[in-house]
């Protein structure tokens, strides 16, 4: 399986995302923001960082980059996409996911390991987990508070599109403790914390995050028979 990792100007976590892809047994394919080309990959990761310096709003400029012109229709057609942190913000700005990420309550940039509860273990990126499973992964964001109107929040909860929640109180004030959501098909997932930093106890707080990457690889191998 070939998984593309997009690098925007200001991306920080593309290297770790590519490493996580390799840990999961897939080939990491670098994708460049200015190329209108997905290089035939089977899935795409939008990594964390500060694309285009977070100018205007987080993810607002990245949304209009050439690679996104290819990615948006591909994602709507079923290409698995995982947006982590800034990648989640980009997915919301691109309207592939509903809602928005707003400034943390309390204004502080939060960098710490957090416990997540998997709420939906049937998405393309979480099928290797069990519903209710707890994960320890780093959170590092200044604008990570998920926000949406009440109707959207109700709809997300009712249809199982909340993928992960913060265990306990959301450290950033996220609505209903939401840490990650998915699209209707369950193939496009946005997650505020960083599973790619938690794939090996040597370099992270746990290996709990590896399941996001092995999930998509296993599903792909299964589909191929």
């Amino acid at each position: 399986m070939r998984i593309g990792v997009v690098t925007f100007p200001g991306s920080l976590d593309d290297t770790d995302a590519a490493r996580a892809v390799r840990y999961a047994g897939a080939e990491a394919v670098p994708l460049w923001h200015a190329d209108r080309d997905l290089r035939g990959v089977d899935a795409v990761i939008l990594p964390g960082g500060f694309s285009y310096g977070d100018y205007l709003r987080c993810g607002a400029i990245a949304r209009f980059s050439p690679v996104m012109a290819e990615l948006v229709p591909a994602a709507k057609a079923g290409l698995p996409v995982l947006g982590i942190c800034n990648g989640f913000q980009i997915l919301c700005e691109a309207h592939l996911l509903p809602g928005a990420l707003t400034r943390n309550a309390g204004l502080r940039f939060i960098t710490r390991d957090v416990r997540l509860t998997v709420a939906n273990a049937s998405t393309a990126w979480t099928s290797g987990y069990e519903s209710g499973q707890q994960l320890l992964v780093p959170l590092k964001s200044g604008e990570g508070a998920y926000a949406a109107d009440e109707v959207t929040l109700d709809e997300l909860e009712r249809t199982g599109r909340v993928v992960a929640c913060y265990a306990g109180a959301a450290p950033n004030g996220a609505a209903r403790g939401i840490a990650g959501i998915c699209d209707e098909a369950g193939t496009v997932v946005g997650l505020m914390p960083h599973p790619e930093h938690a794939i090996d106890p040597l370099t992270g707080p746990s290996a709990d995050g590896l399941g996001f990457f092995t999930s998509v690889v296993t599903a792909f191998a299964g589909a191929r028979g």
Partner: protein, 109 residues
Amino acid sequence: MTGSSTIYALFALGGYVARVIVDVMLKPEIHDPQGEAVLSATRRLGFGGVTGVRQGKRFELELDGPADSAALAAIEELARELLANPVIEEFSLHPADLFAVSLSWGVAG
């Protein structure tokens, strides 16, 4: 900014330079921790009369033609697509005719 818009106005040679202000604010129901931080600073400075602060953004768009209804419609579209995120923000447009102002700046300086 003032200098460049002045030059632009003078070189427009009988043309018409218009500017449209786009104000973007978080929707009232969206928590604004930046505004709260500013509010607490106003209190520390002794400005006790200030009871609330909301922080927003202001964009100044310069046009190559008049701020007519077609231009305003295009800018409204731009604001909805780019300048504001309608999920969490609301915006308002304010046409500002710059011709006379820029000319007087040009004469003065």
